[in-house]
């Protein structure tokens, strides 16, 4: 990159030098514990290593096996189901809650902080607790029955069609607090004067919200959407592990869990690495595509 003449001055040289020094520790950490392992995962994906004995290179056969495995396609489909259904839920719920809090009610602060409470519990703990909650003869079903909602008292974890929505709701429950705050912060950065002119024109609450607030928090919304999309590929493990074991069959197995199963239950480490590579690529592609939406909007502004 060509630098303007001014940046070749003494101050800039010194800054550049110090810049490297300041950034160095972070880079070292990431190199050692993230980048080098990632590279080894890439390399190992071309082997048939079982995690213990010799490492034999097998070319791309792991990948061909993966794509030929019926179960793999179900698993990746599950991830996409989580993404397509989860992302709207995980984005709209906090948006709505933020809107409610933003409407100027008393005690917004209290609600804001209490909604964050689930973060103190680890996701694996939540999985264990909710698993017993939603058992066929568990508390929630008993509650539903007592409220006369018998149709809701089903075997929640008994099939993919019910457990996936359930897990989505639980993640929503655990995470909407922080997303709400992100939205609120975005909303509070909107200059109030914008609303004044709208009020003068007689705009009601709905119009104000949809025509002014929403568009102005577009970037924030995109940010939340991207976080949620990434989460649907990288943050489901603890729940699947504790609640459903990926079952029944492979109906709730997601990529992360499949990697775990192949690596640590079936001793097929090379295969698991190949799965990880695929997962990584998918996530990178999707988030890059989503990021491009962000940039375009900035430019239009």
């Amino acid at each position: 990159m060509a630098e303007p003449a001014a940046s070749k001055g003494r101050y800039y040289r010194m800054r550049r030098r110090w810049g490297k020094i300041f950034v160095a520790p972070a880079v070292v950490f990431l190199l050692a514990f993230m980048l080098i392992p990632i590279v080894s995962v890439f390399v190992l994906s071309f082997t048939s290593w079982d995690g213990m004995s010799t490492i034999d290179f097998v070319g791309a056969s792991n990948f061909t096996n993966i794509f030929a495995d019926k179960n793999f396609w179900q698993v990746i489909k599950n991830n996409f189901i989580f993404m397509f259904i989860g992302t709207p839920v995980w984005t709209i719920t906090p948006l709505v809650v933020a809107a409610l809090l933003y409407s100027g009610i008393k005690g917004a602060g209290f609600f804001r902080s209490t909604f964050l409470f689930p973060t103190v519990l680890a996701t694996s703990v939540l999985g264990i607790v909710f698993k017993s909650f939603f058992g066929l003869n568990g508390p929630m079903n008993a509650l539903f029955k007592s409220l006369g909602l018998d149709f809701l008292a089903i075997n929640w974890l008994g099939s993919g069609t019910t457990s996936i929505p359930l897990i989505i709701m639980i993640i929503n429950w655990a995470g909407f607090g922080s997303a709400t705050l992100i939205f609120l912060a975005g909303m509070s950065s909107i200059d109030p004067s914008v609303y004044e002119s709208a009020l003068l024109d007689g705009a009601g609450w709905w119009t104000r919200f949809f025509k002014i607030t929403l568009p102005m928090i577009f970037n924030v919304t995109m940010f939340v959407i991207i976080l949620n999309v990434i989460a649907s590929f990288t943050s489901l493990f603890n729940y699947v592990f504790t609640m459903t074991n990926g079952g029944p069959g492979y109906e709730t197995t997601v990529m992360e869990y499949l990697v775990y199963l192949k690596a640590f239950r079936s001793n097929q480490f090379g295969y698991a690495c190949a799965l990880s590579v695929i997962l990584f690529v998918v996530v990178m592609v999707i988030s890059t595509v989503l990021q491009s939406f962000n940039k375009r909007r900035d430019w239009m502004d």
Binding site: K131, L136, N155, L157, G158, P248, G249, L261, S266, N267
Partner: protein
């Protein structure tokens, strides 16, 4: 002021970092014991099952047999034994990764069968440390040998054996007009009993098969009568095709029974998908009558139900089978010594201490686990849990066949657990499911080994 505080904080952080590295490395690691530098030799023991703390509050910690044995051994040999409790999930993950890094334990408590065999990379063969007489005290050790061959290296010493049984609530049986001391020879008799129980308003089974274990036990039973104790090794990876006639028959017999159970409502509604243990509560209250399980369940069942619980082997699915009358019984767990241990002899001595007849008897009494040696006189134990005595008697009849999932590859086993409940639910055909399972029944690592 500000500046000073910040600098101090940073300095403290760096100091801590230095301290951790220093502290961590000094002697208190889980590494295999170092040489004698004037300090005691240390053995690291990864414990998967021995009780080190009693959660029922009835036995004092020092009196637990494992703790006692440790103390005596430490004193007699001037060494230190560090026990690391591991749960099943972690144990194998860690055993593998620490084996690669060679910083794992000296002794580990592992499931017998493929779970030990798969890790033979890291295990010290024990044949040279035992005499033939010593080894004769144990049941058939093929399962503990490399690749289950009689000439394979001996990898582990049995800590306990197990049987797979059917347990029933005697009171519930009585209510339905069934004998309190029941023994069903055939599955048809069991089905009749189910009908009677149903008619009396009792759910015949309290089951969980979300993890595929109930299926595994039953197919273990059907496979046992079809293959017999030697034939079962045909199912080793690379040998018999699981989609072949024989194994398909074994699976089909159970799947059809499973379907009948679903059709007639003979078990809790969610049995095919749940893994929650609370489904067993009706068994304790008498609303449900039976469950499949094994000798490892005797302790809990007897605690909850006392003399109201009885057991019998899983009835024969097909009395015309060659090995009809054989049950699923095998060495359940074994102790292994790692081949990177720096104190192998001492480790083996400790293994011997933990596999003495007295140890087995005490463990039987305190933990309810069947001894790993045959021919022990159980009458010397007070308050014998009759269930356990029954199981041990069954095992001693010596008509034992290893559970098939200890023989097939871990991957195939895992696929089995996943697919068979689906077969019963009708989501996948038996052929298709078996095909998926067979695909995964491949040997782990390099099988054409030098051994």
């Amino acid at each position: 002021m500000f500046k000073a505080k910040r600098v101090l904080a940073l300095a403290a952080a760096l100091m801590m970092c230095g301290m951790t590295a220093a502290c961590g490395n000094s002697g208190t690691t889980g590494d295999t014991s170092g040489g004698n530098d004037g300090e005691k030799t240390k053995l690291v023991f990864w414990n998967g099952s021995y009780k080190t703390v009693d959660d029922t509050g009835t036995i004092a910690t020092e009196d637990l047999i494992f703790n006692q044995t440790i103390k005596e051994f430490e004193e007699a040999n001037n060494c230190e034994i560090e026990v690391v409790d591991q749960t099943a999930d972690n144990l194998y993950t860690l055993f593998r990764s620490s084996g690669v890094a060679k910083n794992g334990p000296d002794i580990a408590f592992l499931w017998a069968g493929s779970f030990t065999n798969d890790y033979r990379e890291f295990i010290e063969p024990l044949d040279s440390y035992f005499t033939d007489e010593e080894l004769a005290e144990f049941p058939n050790l093929d399962l503990c040998r490399a690749e289950f061959k009689p000439e394979g290296d001996l990898l582990g010493i049995p800590t306990d054996v197990s049987t797979v049984n059917l347990f029933y609530n005697k009171d519930a049986y009585e209510q339905a007009g069934l004998p309190r001391d029941a023994y069903f020879e055939t599955i048809d008799e069991l089905k009749d009993a189910c009908a009677k129980l149903s008619a009396a308003g009792i759910t015949p089974f309290a089951m969980i098969d979300g993890n595929g274990y109930a299926s595994a036990w039953n197919v273990g039973a059907t496979a046992a009568t079809l293959y017999g104790p030697e034939g079962i090794f045909d199912l080793l990876p690379g040998n018999e095709d699981l989609t072949g006639e024989k194994f398909t028959k074994a699976v089909t017999e159970w799947v059809e029974f499973g379907k009948e159970i679903v059709e007639n409502g003979w078990a809790n509604e969610d049995w095919l998908t749940t893994t929650a243990e609370d489904v067993f509560m009706p068994l304790y209250t008498g609303e449900a009558a039976m469950r499949f399980g094994g000798s490892w369940d005797c302790w809990n069942l007897y605690t909850e139900l006392g003399d109201s619980v009885g057991t019998m082997p899983i009835p024969s699915y097909n009395t015309s089978d060659e090995y009809s009358g054989y049950i699923v019984g095998q060495i359940a767990n074994n102790l292994v010594v790692t081949n990177y241990s720096k104190n192998k002899e001492l480790a083996v001595e400790f293994v011997k201490a933990c596999t003495s007849e007295d140890f087995y008897l005490q463990r039987y009494e305190q933990e309810g686990q069947l001894p790993g040696k045959v021919g022990i006189d159980m009458s010397s134990v007070e308050d014998v849990n009759p269930l356990l005595a029954d199981c041990y008697a069954l095992f001693s009849e010596n008509k034992n066949v290893i559970g098939f999932d200890s023989v097939t590859s871990a991957d195939a086993g895992a696929e089995f657990y996943r697919q068979v409940p689906q077969m019963i639910a009708g989501n996948i055909s038996i052929e298709e499911g078996l095909k998926l399972i067979q695909e995964k029944n491949v040997a782990v690592g390099a099988t054409e080994t030098e051994e």
